[in-house]
Symmetry: C2
Subunit: 335 residues, 2 copies
DNA sequence: TTGTAGGCGTTATCAA
DNA sequence: TTGATAACGCCTACAA
């Protein structure tokens, strides 16, 4: 890895041109004669020169890095999105810098600050609690892509997955299986996403002429532990239900355990549906019926949108439609 | 967020001192009179000055960033480690830059290159396939912490979790429950870790005077899908086994599904043990007996070691001992 | 203890 | 098309 400090200047010297010419070739920022171009490329090769991003950052204001505010870097949900972001950015020579917001407004604010002070060229924000005004404010400094909310502004692009439709599909599936008493576990309603999913659930009930019963709805927090607790609360209310729709797969996993603890079998006693289609969903017992929203694709879309903005184009997100994935955690109501 | 470009120079001006004095205060690199120190701190506060890491990187050679070569950013296993790293580094003002190696030597090499060219102040490498020589070579440029192998060298610190002991504990637990025919699913043996776990398994068998049966050992790859396939291969061999020890939780999850598909019940027909104690392990059905190695702690330990090295101290890793966590996937052998 | 001056490796602005 | 020259924001001798 003999990484001696090979500078642009050395390259220029060897190629017999000025540093500016080398820089121009590197960035394609101006026309350069073919001969010199080749000489420089040759010199770059023999010297093994790699431009120093730090110096570039100082001089040109570009760091070739994109700040990513994620919520919990270790969550299986965000993990897949980060992977998509990383892969997509890499192709354009950018590196993502991930900072966790921990679903905490202060942490998110700090994350933005950290990234801003690192002079990232752009910012991708995955959901979170922070106020829209703050985001719009940051977007004045660097182009920004926000996933999971609707936000308008210059240098600002946002998109959401159609969670509402996804939730409607899931609920409709249960209805088609004959279920009428369908319980629902929401995520933290601070998320637009969580609200959308709840609305999708209500949409489907309405569609089918079923009156929603508030007793069947439990608030939770998108975690496994939360899902398990939710089941406990639901059962303590002593309302009858034959199906349970959880706003994400992680809560569904927790709920499954909660049901199991009460000797309720999935799907024989309770049909269970999740949301997200994490890899895990294939390996739960029984494998989980869920709504696929390709989190990986969300990541690549966000990255692509970012790259579009950076090159001055108007981004355009085209996410795949949500799809219901029927596995074995749901069944026709026993009667 | 009114992030106007507040430079160190402005601070100096406002405080009525020279830029170097401000720098000295910022870095504690030399004694400064109390009066000036206060004046400067005051100025920093009123101006909301935050030093520019990019400029710092160029001038001082320090970027306050640590490169982290992880394998799959989205894996639940690495995710927790990354979280630990992030939290610990943050306390010292460092930011981790994560790049995925994807268990691919080329990718890992590229990751190292990327990180090196970004002038990270240190490198943390989580396992991987890349050759030791290459790592030792990189360590000549920046201090390095390697997790999951034993490596010696200047500016190089490595530590592993005691996987061998962990695996021995797991296997011994099964033996104590009366199992004699214990199948084992290894991870990719390119990992030292995977080898250690296999050795631990063999240790325990030997301890109990059980002759290991190669037919009971299946090679796999640490993924859920791999665990499921492994069960298939095992069953096709038609060897008798009453317990199955998988080298990690993810494979155990896959194995559980594989068993379920063949109508084998856990733990009644087959006792199942995993390794890692991911959060998931608590929510599998039934909850998984496994070996806890706090991946989060591994992350914080790696970060701490890095920080130690950066401040010139000799790092010292003290990881918690592996602990067997008995849940409900194992039971006394039916007789 | 403090300030001055030079430099870190690029890019950007001007002339030529 | 090319090359000087001046930033970029900070750190670090060196001198005072």
């Amino acid at each position: 890895m003999g990484d001696r400090v090979v500078t642009l200047e050395l390259v220029a010297e060897l190629a017999g041109v000025s540093p500016s010419t080398v820089s121009r070739i590197l960035n394609g920022s101006a026309a350069v004669s073919q001969v010199k171009k080749e000489a420089v490329q040759e010199a770059i090769r023999t010297l093994g020169f790699r431009p120093n991003p730090v110096a570039r950052g100082l001089a040109g204001g570009r760091t070739l890095s994109i700040g990513v505010v994620t919520q919990v870097i270790s969550s299986p949900f965000y993990g897949e999105a980060l992977l998509g972001i990383e892969r997509e950015l890499e192709r354009a020579g950018y590196v993502p810098i991930f900072v966790s917001g921990n679903w905490h407004e202060d942490d998110e604010r700090k994350a933005l600050q950290t990234l801003l002070s690192r002079r990232v060229d752009g910012m991708i924000v995955l959901a979170g609690r922070i106020g829209n005004e703050m985001l719009q404010d940051v977007a004045k400094t660097v182009p920004m892509v926000v996933v999971g909310r609707q936000l308008e502004g210059p240098q600002l692009f946002s998109f959401s997955f159609d969670s509402r439709l996804g939730a409607r599909l899931a609920t409709r599936h249960l209805i088609e299986l004959g279920h009428r008493n369908i319980a629902f576990v929401t995520g933290d309603l601070i998320h637009e996403d969580a609200v959308d999913r709840q609305n999708g659930y209500l949409d489907a009930l309405k569609e089918a002429g079923i009156t929603p019963d508030p007793q069947l709805v439990v608030q939770s927090d998108f975690t496994e532990a939360g899902g398990m607790l939710a089941v406990g609360r639901l059962l303590s209310r002593e309302v009858h239900f034959t199906a349970l729709f959880c706003s994400n797969d992680q809560m569904a996993m927790g709920a499954a355990l909660g049901l199991y603890r009460r000797n309720l079998r999935v799907p024989d006693d309770v049909s269970l549906v999740g949301f997200d289609d994490l890899i895990l969903a294939r390996y739960t017992m029984p494998p989980l019926t869920t709504v696929r929203q390709s989190v990986y694709d969300i990541g690549t879309e966000a990255a692509t949108a970012m790259l579009d903005m950076l090159r001055g184009a108007r981004p355009e997100a085209r996410l795949p439609e949500p799809v219901l994935v029927v596995r074995e955690s749901t069944t026709r109501i026993a009667r």
